[in-house]
Subunit: 137 residues, 2 copies
DNA sequence: CTTGACCCTGTAGTTGCTACAGGGTGTAGA
DNA sequence: TCTACACCCTGTAGCAACTACAGGGTCAAG
Protein backbone atom coordinates (compact mmCIF):
# COMPACT_ATOMS: atom_id res chain seq x y z
CA UNK A 1 0.00 0.00 0.00
CA UNK A 2 1.10 3.58 -0.61
CA UNK A 3 2.02 6.01 2.14
CA UNK A 4 -1.29 7.84 1.95
CA UNK A 5 -3.25 4.64 2.43
CA UNK A 6 -1.08 3.57 5.35
CA UNK A 7 -1.43 7.01 6.90
CA UNK A 8 -5.18 6.86 6.45
CA UNK A 9 -5.47 3.39 7.93
CA UNK A 10 -3.63 4.47 11.07
CA UNK A 11 -4.93 8.04 11.40
CA UNK A 12 -1.42 9.31 10.94
CA UNK A 13 -0.03 12.22 8.99
CA UNK A 14 1.93 11.28 5.88
CA UNK A 15 4.81 13.46 7.06
CA UNK A 16 4.78 11.67 10.39
CA UNK A 17 5.13 8.29 8.68
CA UNK A 18 8.16 9.56 6.78
CA UNK A 19 9.48 11.02 10.02
CA UNK A 20 9.20 7.64 11.76
CA UNK A 21 11.17 6.11 8.93
CA UNK A 22 13.81 8.80 9.21
CA UNK A 23 14.35 8.14 12.91
CA UNK A 24 14.36 4.38 12.22
CA UNK A 25 11.21 3.67 14.17
CA UNK A 26 9.55 2.22 11.09
CA UNK A 27 11.56 0.11 8.64
CA UNK A 28 12.04 1.55 5.16
CA UNK A 29 9.51 -0.10 2.84
CA UNK A 30 10.04 -1.39 -0.68
CA UNK A 31 9.82 1.16 -3.49
CA UNK A 32 7.74 1.12 -6.64
CA UNK A 33 9.20 1.77 -10.08
CA UNK A 34 8.34 5.43 -9.63
CA UNK A 35 10.08 5.49 -6.24
CA UNK A 36 6.86 5.48 -4.22
CA UNK A 37 6.99 3.77 -0.81
CA UNK A 38 5.18 0.44 -0.83
CA UNK A 39 4.11 -0.83 2.59
CA UNK A 40 3.32 -4.37 3.76
CA UNK A 41 0.83 -5.48 6.42
CA UNK A 42 3.80 -5.88 8.71
CA UNK A 43 4.39 -2.17 8.37
CA UNK A 44 0.74 -1.53 9.08
CA UNK A 45 0.85 -3.61 12.27
CA UNK A 46 4.03 -1.88 13.34
CA UNK A 47 2.70 1.60 12.78
CA UNK A 48 -0.56 0.74 14.52
CA UNK A 49 1.47 -0.40 17.52
CA UNK A 50 3.41 2.86 17.49
CA UNK A 51 0.23 4.91 17.25
CA UNK A 52 -1.44 3.06 20.09
CA UNK A 53 1.63 3.46 22.29
CA UNK A 54 1.81 7.15 21.43
CA UNK A 55 -1.88 7.52 22.28
CA UNK A 56 -1.02 6.06 25.67
CA UNK A 57 1.53 8.81 26.00
CA UNK A 58 4.71 6.77 25.67
CA UNK A 59 7.71 8.74 24.44
CA UNK A 60 9.17 7.70 21.10
CA UNK A 61 12.22 6.20 22.81
CA UNK A 62 9.93 4.12 25.03
CA UNK A 63 7.97 3.05 21.95
CA UNK A 64 11.23 2.00 20.36
CA UNK A 65 12.05 -0.19 23.36
CA UNK A 66 8.56 -1.63 23.47
CA UNK A 67 8.81 -2.53 19.79
CA UNK A 68 12.13 -4.29 20.33
CA UNK A 69 10.75 -6.15 23.34
CA UNK A 70 7.62 -7.18 21.52
CA UNK A 71 9.76 -9.01 18.98
CA UNK A 72 11.51 -11.03 21.65
CA UNK A 73 8.52 -13.24 22.42
CA UNK A 74 10.40 -15.69 24.64
CA UNK A 75 11.70 -13.09 27.08
CA UNK A 76 9.97 -12.28 30.33
CA UNK A 77 7.75 -9.25 30.16
CA UNK A 78 9.35 -7.68 33.19
CA UNK A 79 11.02 -4.96 31.12
CA UNK A 80 7.71 -4.13 29.47
CA UNK A 81 6.03 -3.86 32.82
CA UNK A 82 8.83 -1.65 34.02
CA UNK A 83 8.53 0.78 31.11
CA UNK A 84 4.77 0.98 31.47
CA UNK A 85 4.94 1.45 35.24
CA UNK A 86 7.55 4.19 34.94
CA UNK A 87 5.31 5.92 32.45
CA UNK A 88 2.30 5.59 34.72
CA UNK A 89 4.31 7.09 37.57
CA UNK A 90 5.24 10.00 35.34
CA UNK A 91 1.60 10.52 34.34
CA UNK A 92 0.60 10.52 37.99
CA UNK A 93 3.29 13.04 38.80
CA UNK A 94 1.99 15.31 36.05
CA UNK A 95 -1.57 14.99 37.30
CA UNK A 96 -0.43 15.98 40.78
CA UNK A 97 1.47 18.97 39.43
CA UNK A 98 -1.46 20.12 37.34
CA UNK A 99 -3.91 19.63 40.19
CA UNK A 100 -1.80 21.86 42.40
CA UNK A 101 -1.71 24.36 39.57
CA UNK A 102 -5.45 24.21 39.17
CA UNK A 103 -5.97 24.94 42.86
CA UNK A 104 -3.67 27.90 42.75
CA UNK A 105 -5.16 29.30 39.55
CA UNK A 106 -8.68 28.84 40.86
CA UNK A 107 -7.75 30.68 44.03
CA UNK A 108 -6.05 33.51 42.16
CA UNK A 109 -8.86 33.93 39.65
CA UNK A 110 -11.47 33.70 42.39
CA UNK A 111 -9.93 36.65 44.17
CA UNK A 112 -10.40 38.90 41.15
CA UNK A 113 -12.82 41.74 41.89
CA UNK A 114 -13.05 42.77 38.21
CA UNK A 115 -11.85 46.30 38.83
CA UNK A 116 -8.83 48.01 37.29
CA UNK A 117 -5.41 46.55 36.74
CA UNK A 118 -4.13 48.62 39.65
CA UNK A 119 -6.35 46.63 42.03
CA UNK A 120 -6.18 43.35 40.14
CA UNK A 121 -5.55 40.48 42.52
CA UNK A 122 -4.34 38.31 39.67
CA UNK A 123 -1.60 40.75 38.70
CA UNK A 124 -0.90 41.30 42.37
CA UNK A 125 -0.36 37.64 42.98
CA UNK A 126 2.12 37.58 40.11
CA UNK A 127 3.93 40.77 41.05
CA UNK A 128 6.41 40.11 43.82
CA UNK A 129 7.04 42.83 46.40
CA UNK A 130 5.67 45.53 44.07
CA UNK A 131 7.09 48.27 46.28
CA UNK A 132 10.45 47.47 44.72
CA UNK A 133 9.25 48.74 41.38
CA UNK A 134 11.12 51.80 40.35
CA UNK A 135 13.42 51.65 43.35
CA UNK A 136 17.13 52.41 43.07
CA UNK A 137 19.27 49.80 41.39
CA UNK B 1 23.44 43.58 39.83
CA UNK B 2 25.15 41.11 37.51
CA UNK B 3 23.35 38.39 35.62
CA UNK B 4 24.46 35.66 38.02
CA UNK B 5 23.04 37.54 40.99
CA UNK B 6 19.77 38.21 39.20
CA UNK B 7 19.55 34.59 38.17
CA UNK B 8 20.23 33.49 41.71
CA UNK B 9 17.67 35.86 43.19
CA UNK B 10 14.97 34.50 40.91
CA UNK B 11 16.00 30.83 40.78
CA UNK B 12 16.55 31.19 37.06
CA UNK B 13 19.24 29.87 34.79
CA UNK B 14 21.68 32.49 33.51
CA UNK B 15 21.10 31.26 29.98
CA UNK B 16 17.36 31.62 30.48
CA UNK B 17 17.78 35.25 31.51
CA UNK B 18 19.73 35.96 28.32
CA UNK B 19 17.10 34.03 26.38
CA UNK B 20 14.32 36.22 27.80
CA UNK B 21 16.28 39.26 26.71
CA UNK B 22 16.73 37.83 23.25
CA UNK B 23 13.00 37.29 22.80
CA UNK B 24 12.33 40.76 24.21
CA UNK B 25 10.55 39.55 27.31
CA UNK B 26 13.07 41.25 29.55
CA UNK B 27 14.46 44.68 28.61
CA UNK B 28 18.18 44.83 27.80
CA UNK B 29 19.96 46.15 30.89
CA UNK B 30 22.77 48.68 31.07
CA UNK B 31 26.27 47.40 30.46
CA UNK B 32 29.37 47.80 32.60
CA UNK B 33 32.70 48.97 31.19
CA UNK B 34 33.60 45.33 30.62
CA UNK B 35 30.32 44.73 28.80
CA UNK B 36 28.69 42.85 31.67
CA UNK B 37 24.93 43.16 31.99
CA UNK B 38 23.96 45.37 34.90
CA UNK B 39 20.40 44.90 36.18
CA UNK B 40 18.17 47.22 38.17
CA UNK B 41 15.52 46.34 40.76
CA UNK B 42 12.99 46.98 38.02
CA UNK B 43 14.52 44.11 36.10
CA UNK B 44 14.40 41.98 39.24
CA UNK B 45 10.70 42.69 39.72
CA UNK B 46 10.02 41.99 36.07
CA UNK B 47 11.86 38.70 36.03
CA UNK B 48 10.21 37.62 39.28
CA UNK B 49 6.85 38.30 37.67
CA UNK B 50 7.83 36.23 34.67
CA UNK B 51 9.04 33.36 36.84
CA UNK B 52 5.91 33.35 38.93
CA UNK B 53 3.72 33.35 35.84
CA UNK B 54 5.79 30.55 34.33
CA UNK B 55 5.46 28.58 37.57
CA UNK B 56 1.71 28.95 37.16
CA UNK B 57 2.13 27.39 33.74
CA UNK B 58 1.44 30.45 31.58
CA UNK B 59 3.02 30.27 28.12
CA UNK B 60 5.62 32.90 27.32
CA UNK B 61 3.23 34.70 24.99
CA UNK B 62 0.64 34.85 27.77
CA UNK B 63 3.32 36.15 30.13
CA UNK B 64 4.16 38.81 27.59
CA UNK B 65 0.52 39.94 27.51
CA UNK B 66 0.23 39.85 31.28
CA UNK B 67 3.33 42.03 31.56
CA UNK B 68 1.92 44.56 29.12
CA UNK B 69 -1.40 44.59 30.93
CA UNK B 70 0.23 44.97 34.31
CA UNK B 71 1.76 48.23 33.15
CA UNK B 72 -1.59 49.64 32.13
CA UNK B 73 -2.82 50.18 35.69
CA UNK B 74 -5.88 52.18 34.74
CA UNK B 75 -7.40 49.58 32.46
CA UNK B 76 -10.00 47.08 33.61
CA UNK B 77 -8.57 43.73 34.52
CA UNK B 78 -10.99 41.88 32.31
CA UNK B 79 -8.28 40.90 29.85
CA UNK B 80 -6.14 39.56 32.68
CA UNK B 81 -9.04 37.51 33.98
CA UNK B 82 -9.64 36.20 30.49
CA UNK B 83 -6.05 35.03 30.02
CA UNK B 84 -5.99 33.37 33.41
CA UNK B 85 -9.35 31.67 32.91
CA UNK B 86 -8.35 30.37 29.49
CA UNK B 87 -5.21 28.96 31.03
CA UNK B 88 -7.17 27.33 33.84
CA UNK B 89 -9.48 25.73 31.29
CA UNK B 90 -6.45 24.37 29.46
CA UNK B 91 -5.00 22.98 32.68
CA UNK B 92 -8.31 21.28 33.43
CA UNK B 93 -8.40 19.79 29.97
CA UNK B 94 -4.93 18.38 30.47
CA UNK B 95 -5.87 16.92 33.84
CA UNK B 96 -8.84 15.19 32.25
CA UNK B 97 -6.69 13.81 29.45
CA UNK B 98 -4.07 12.55 31.85
CA UNK B 99 -6.67 11.04 34.15
CA UNK B 100 -8.11 9.05 31.28
CA UNK B 101 -4.60 7.99 30.40
CA UNK B 102 -3.94 6.92 33.96
CA UNK B 103 -7.05 4.75 34.01
CA UNK B 104 -6.09 3.05 30.81
CA UNK B 105 -2.48 2.51 31.84
CA UNK B 106 -3.52 1.17 35.22
CA UNK B 107 -5.89 -1.25 33.54
CA UNK B 108 -3.28 -2.39 31.03
CA UNK B 109 -0.55 -2.83 33.62
CA UNK B 110 -2.93 -4.54 36.02
CA UNK B 111 -3.67 -7.20 33.44
CA UNK B 112 0.01 -8.18 33.23
CA UNK B 113 0.58 -11.75 34.47
CA UNK B 114 4.37 -11.38 34.51
CA UNK B 115 5.00 -14.20 32.10
CA UNK B 116 6.78 -14.05 28.75
CA UNK B 117 6.45 -11.39 26.10
CA UNK B 118 4.38 -13.82 24.02
CA UNK B 119 1.66 -13.76 26.68
CA UNK B 120 2.21 -10.19 27.77
CA UNK B 121 -1.10 -8.37 28.09
CA UNK B 122 0.62 -5.02 27.86
CA UNK B 123 2.17 -5.81 24.49
CA UNK B 124 -1.09 -7.42 23.44
CA UNK B 125 -3.04 -4.30 24.22
CA UNK B 126 -0.64 -2.32 22.06
CA UNK B 127 -0.51 -4.77 19.19
CA UNK B 128 -3.56 -4.39 16.97
CA UNK B 129 -5.01 -7.46 15.30
CA UNK B 130 -1.79 -9.45 15.81
CA UNK B 131 -2.93 -12.14 13.40
CA UNK B 132 -2.06 -9.74 10.59
CA UNK B 133 1.61 -10.00 11.46
CA UNK B 134 3.56 -11.62 8.69
CA UNK B 135 0.52 -11.87 6.46
CA UNK B 136 0.76 -11.19 2.74
CA UNK B 137 1.18 -7.59 1.69
C1' DC C 1 51.08 35.39 37.87
C1' DT C 2 48.03 31.95 37.85
C1' DT C 3 43.79 29.79 39.16
C1' DG C 4 39.00 29.82 39.26
C1' DA C 5 34.62 31.84 39.06
C1' DC C 6 32.23 34.54 36.54
C1' DC C 7 30.87 37.06 32.09
C1' DC C 8 30.33 37.52 26.69
C1' DT C 9 28.44 35.94 21.78
C1' DG C 10 26.71 32.67 18.79
C1' DT C 11 25.12 28.26 17.44
C1' DA C 12 23.19 23.71 17.86
C1' DG C 13 20.56 20.40 20.41
C1' DT C 14 16.18 18.69 22.78
C1' DT C 15 10.79 16.33 21.55
C1' DG C 16 7.61 15.13 18.13
C1' DC C 17 6.15 16.47 14.81
C1' DT C 18 4.35 20.09 10.94
C1' DA C 19 4.86 23.02 6.97
C1' DC C 20 6.76 24.43 3.23
C1' DA C 21 9.62 24.67 -1.42
C1' DG C 22 10.37 22.72 -5.50
C1' DG C 23 10.01 19.06 -7.92
C1' DG C 24 7.91 14.16 -10.21
C1' DT C 25 3.83 10.65 -11.15
C1' DG C 26 -0.63 8.88 -12.33
C1' DT C 27 -5.25 9.11 -13.78
C1' DA C 28 -9.67 11.01 -15.18
C1' DG C 29 -12.27 14.18 -17.90
C1' DA C 30 -12.81 17.67 -22.10
C1' DT D 1 -3.94 14.90 -26.51
C1' DC D 2 -4.01 18.17 -23.19
C1' DT D 3 -4.61 19.45 -18.65
C1' DA D 4 -6.10 19.56 -14.10
C1' DC D 5 -5.67 17.45 -9.84
C1' DA D 6 -4.44 14.34 -6.27
C1' DC D 7 -0.91 12.12 -4.82
C1' DC D 8 4.20 11.06 -4.23
C1' DC D 9 9.41 12.46 -3.61
C1' DT D 10 13.57 14.97 -1.01
C1' DG D 11 15.28 18.32 1.95
C1' DT D 12 15.05 22.01 5.08
C1' DA D 13 13.10 25.17 8.46
C1' DG D 14 9.89 26.08 12.07
C1' DC D 15 7.35 25.43 16.72
C1' DA D 16 8.10 25.97 22.69
C1' DA D 17 11.10 26.97 26.02
C1' DC D 18 14.83 26.38 27.08
C1' DT D 19 19.79 23.96 27.66
C1' DA D 20 24.45 23.06 26.41
C1' DC D 21 28.31 23.83 24.39
C1' DA D 22 32.51 26.29 21.90
C1' DG D 23 35.58 29.70 22.13
C1' DG D 24 36.59 33.52 23.94
C1' DG D 25 37.19 37.87 27.80
C1' DT D 26 37.28 39.80 32.97
C1' DC D 27 38.30 40.07 37.70
C1' DA D 28 39.56 39.16 42.43
C1' DA D 29 42.14 36.15 45.63
C1' DG D 30 46.23 33.87 46.91
Amino acid sequence: MKIGELANATATNVETVRYYEKISLLAPPARSASNYRSYSNEHLARLSFIRRARDLGFALEAVRELLTLSDDTGQSCEAVDQIASAHLAEVERKIDDLSALRSELTRVIGSCRHGTIADCKIIESLAPTPQLKGAAQ
